[in-house]
Symmetry: C2
Subunit: 553 residues, 2 copies
């Protein structure tokens, strides 16, 4: 198979391990720490995870390996959306397993968790693994979004485990997938099936993060890729001086990606969903905030600028959420047909006006017509508005254009406003992992093997001190139940890993908040450029600004 020059060279890269994992498997000893408690709802979580709850946090140190000798047959699963570095988790796991005992076996279950229930697998060997080292993508074994939830699925997973004599399963996934890993660990423990389960924290969204997990893998590479593009667009804007670029970036439930990109590129405006929610901002207020920047810049810098919009932004706007609920209600059941039968858009609008509260009508009324139509015409099989399809970058640019015309009429604005739109998501999820993600992921996988060897289950592979060079990283493990609380999901209380939203009191947001007034008016763009895998260390080994700021660096 033909491969690119970069891929060829990257296959040779040797990822860096934390110092304490560098002495060879025989020289890795374990240190147990405190017993743990879940972050909330301790009694409830404990009752749901009687066998895996409350275990001790653990750290690896240099010293004689005291793990029992045992042949391992491990299954590995990629779960959910792609994130750069997934292949390296598998490579690190494979290398550690083979270094521990060349007869150890690693099976890759294909297409996500359903690979385990349906027993679709491939046995990974040197030739297979070597073709995927330090590459992006999840194509090594594919991924999927199935959850193992029903009694039949659990039984099927157990049957597969038995068939192969599995000693452990490693699940590489986000918060939901690792919640599922904890549930599976408890199930296997309860059934005495002798199968351990270890999770690894993956997601480009950056929302699997807590006191123990400093960051999820993939966030570094994905945000660097988006920041490369945003920086290039900023430089284009600053050269041509004729467009405002509205750039939407992935991240529906949290705005970490947008915030990191803003710290990397210093755009004129970056919306943060968590702030919008906390301040109960309206769409109109957001549009005004952008329009203020456009007006100010038109007088000094010119008619150009860059706005970063997180994918999920409208879901954070309280009045918009209310509007969506009312629309879903308005068209529930048979009312959809009644609505669809109305001959013209004007008729439909009258119907809508009658059906909405005055407050929601006022929100609806200020939306551009194409967005209004989108809300009513494109609905999911349950008849609900598909909020994810709303082109929020266009929504805001159109609202800003309207605001500017109002200001022009009042003599407050005399510029030109022309917008371009972009959406970056798929562009970064499968990039070659940065050195940071390549090292971090390899370490997560290698470390997962150590957790397996020492007999832990229901643990998340944990590498910390990540803002320092890799030799100072700390390897260990943390019970997944420690990160859990009870949350309402689809009308039921469920134990889940608490999702990390952008902390408005945290240093990354505070840094942004302290600088954005200046960025909104001046042209303070930063141009990060493409991810570098070679060259000076400050260019190719630095991780995110988010992590550096969180660590006070």
């Amino acid at each position: 198979m033909e491969i690119s020059p970069l891929q060829k060279e990257r296959l040779q890269y040797q990822p860096k391990l934390p110092g304490m994992l560098r002495g060879g498997i025989a020289n890795i000893s374990v240190q147990e720490g405190e017993e743990t408690q879940s972050v909330a709802d301790q009694e409830k979580i404990k009752s749901l995870f009687p066998l895996t709850y409350g275990k001790r946090e653990i750290t690896f140190v240099k010293g004689q390996n005291t793990a029992p000798a045992k042949k391992q047959v491990v299954g590995v699963i990629l779960s959910g959306g792609q994130a750069p570095g997934g292949h390296n988790v598998i490579c690190g796991l494979y290398d550690a397993l083979k270094a521990a005992n060349k007869d150890n076996v690693l099976l890759g279950f294909k297409g996500g968790p359903s690979g385990l229930t349906d027993d679709k697998f491939v046995e990974l060997d040197d030739a297979f693994i070597n073709a995927y080292r330090n590459t992006g993508g999840f194509d090594i074994i594919g991924s999927g979004r199935t959850k193992i939830e029903t009694p039949e699925q659990f039984a099927a997973a157990e049957a597969t485990a038995k068939r192969h004599g599995l000693t452990a399963v490693v699940i590489i996934g986000g918060d939901d997938s690792n919640t599922n890993a904890a549930v599976l660990a408890e199930y296997f423990a309860a059934h005495k099936s002798g199968v351990q389960v270890i999770g690894c924290p993956k997601t480009i969204d950056g929302d699997l993060k807590n006191d123990d997990i400093e960051c999820s893998f993939g966030f570094d590479t994905a945000t660097k890729t988006y920041s490369e593009l945003i920086g290039n667009i900023e430089r284009d804007a600053n050269s041509a001086k004729k467009y405002w670029h509205f750039i939407k970036v992935m991240g529906r439930s949290a705005s970490h990606v947008a915030l990191e990109c803003a710290l990397e590129t210093q755009p004129n405006i970056c919306l943060i969903g968590e702030e919008v929610a906390a301040k109960k901002m309206s769409l109109s207020q957001i549009a005004d905030q952008i329009a203020d920047s456009v007006v100010a810049r038109s007088k000094t810098e010119g008619n150009f600028g860059v706005v970063i919009v997180p994918e999920g932004i409208v879901e954070f706007v309280p009045e918009f959420g209310t509007l969506i609920s009312e629309i879903n209600e308005l068209l529930a059941g048979e009312k959809t047909a009644e609505f669809n039968a109305l001959p013209t858009w004007e008729d439909k609008k009258a119907y809508i006006k009658k059906g909405l509260t005055e407050a929601s009508w006022n929100v609806f009324d200020i939306l551009p017509e194409n967005i209004q139509q989108q809300l009513f015409l494109e609905r999911d099989p349950h008849g609900n508005v598909q909020v994810s399809l709303i082109e929020s970058e266009k929504l805001f640019s159109q609202m800003v254009a309207k605001k500017l015309e109002e200001r022009r009429a009042k003599g407050e604005y005399n510029g030109k406003f022309s917008a371009q739109h972009h959406f970056f998501g798929y562009e970064g999820r499968c990039a070659f992992p940065s050195n940071f993600d390549a090292d971090y992921c390899y370490s997560l996988g290698y470390n997962a093997c150590m957790l397996i060897q020492y007999g832990y289950t229901g643990y998340l592979s944990k590498i910390s001190n990540l803002s320092k060079p890799a030799d100072q990283w700390v390897a260990g493990g943390m019970p997944i139940t420690k990160m859990m609380n009870m949350e309402r999901r689809n009308g039921e209380d469920k134990p889940v890993i608490r999702k990390a939203l952008v902390d408005l009191d945290g240093k990354p947001f505070q840094y942004f908040a302290a600088h954005r007034a200046k960025w909104a008016v001046e042209t303070d763009y930063l141009y990060p450029g493409a991810i570098q895998y070679y060259g000076p260390s400050d260019v190719c080994d630095l991780t995110t600004r988010t992590l550096a700021l969180e660590k006070g660096e």
Copy 2:
């Protein structure tokens, strides 16, 4: 001003010059070659350029510099759309000027050619230049699209030149801008104003290319940036196996960018405008070609794939061109108001059906409704359809979806088809120039200074043998008139540089044509990854596949 780590390091990069320019200004001698002829319409071009026509091609060699000693006051202009490396042309020019005589002066005229006519300039010095070395963008002095065409503009340019005592002007631009450079050179010669004019070949589109100019600068970096993203998306598609990605890339009048990206990434489908025109393909045929790939892959590889669409594709489809002309005719003058007054889209459609020929109606009729509406609702100030606004990537995905449903009904297709859309243009025009573009551009600027010193005017700075390492590059100059012919522009015969379209008999297209049947069915994706500025030479110094294939490598 805060700058990124990569920018900081790139400021230190020393671009490579062609071997014969490496010995210092005092050791660069000139060799005159043959007298030249324009590529067509020789008599006509000669009559329009009596003083600058027919000059000799020239090459620089190592040897004693015999140029007359003269203080140079040079103006430089960036013209047209951004391309990576523009800053380096200016840096090379500056370094050569200062190396020749520290009293030489370089003025940057701001915002494009209008900077010269309006006398808006900045004197470039070490501190200024050093902040822009090896960076992307045209923000050093800005760019613009004004042409110097009217007697008033020529007089204003001459007055500015006189005011500053300019000895030469360097125009960095595409085919139109260099045509303009030739006209200005002739004007200054006719007016004995003592100002030489030198052009430098810029455009990411790759369509300023001929027997003398192997490639325009910026094409390498821009296509590498787009290919990075396309490769990442391919890997995502191949991991998730659930989407067909339709990716539009910049390039309206030629499909070089799409072709180069296809050679770099081996997508399932890449449309080439020149082939569509040559084969007089219909929209329906194009959609069928894509649908064939979707159907074949659904049976073996899965329901995913990648299609590259050049921005200008619909303009190459003969039947579509006819349709556009008829629509423009249909709505000319007062008929727009008549049309707009029709109350519903159905009424409008009836009006359209009556006004179009049957053939054009049939083309119109197969278009998705949103595209149909776009053709009628979004028109330029002259009432013409804005072809550039047509979202061709969506047009084709929607047409393919329809074709697939027809095939499903016939039992020929049983897959799922879900599409994602992307457009890459602004993302690549201002990237940090690749080592190739950094070296090439610096050499073009350095070489332009040598052409000035030796007294040439109406020449394009020419660096050739570009597929070899820089020390083997050949520096020289070519009269711009040699590249010209007469073409019809806005109802007038004009002398212009002949635009290079994709040569369907050329090696790059032939390579693509020889492999695409396999790529359409299999998953042969290549993942080029991000541009590397450091590291192994095969990763960071290779130029385009297009150039390598053209040179038989």
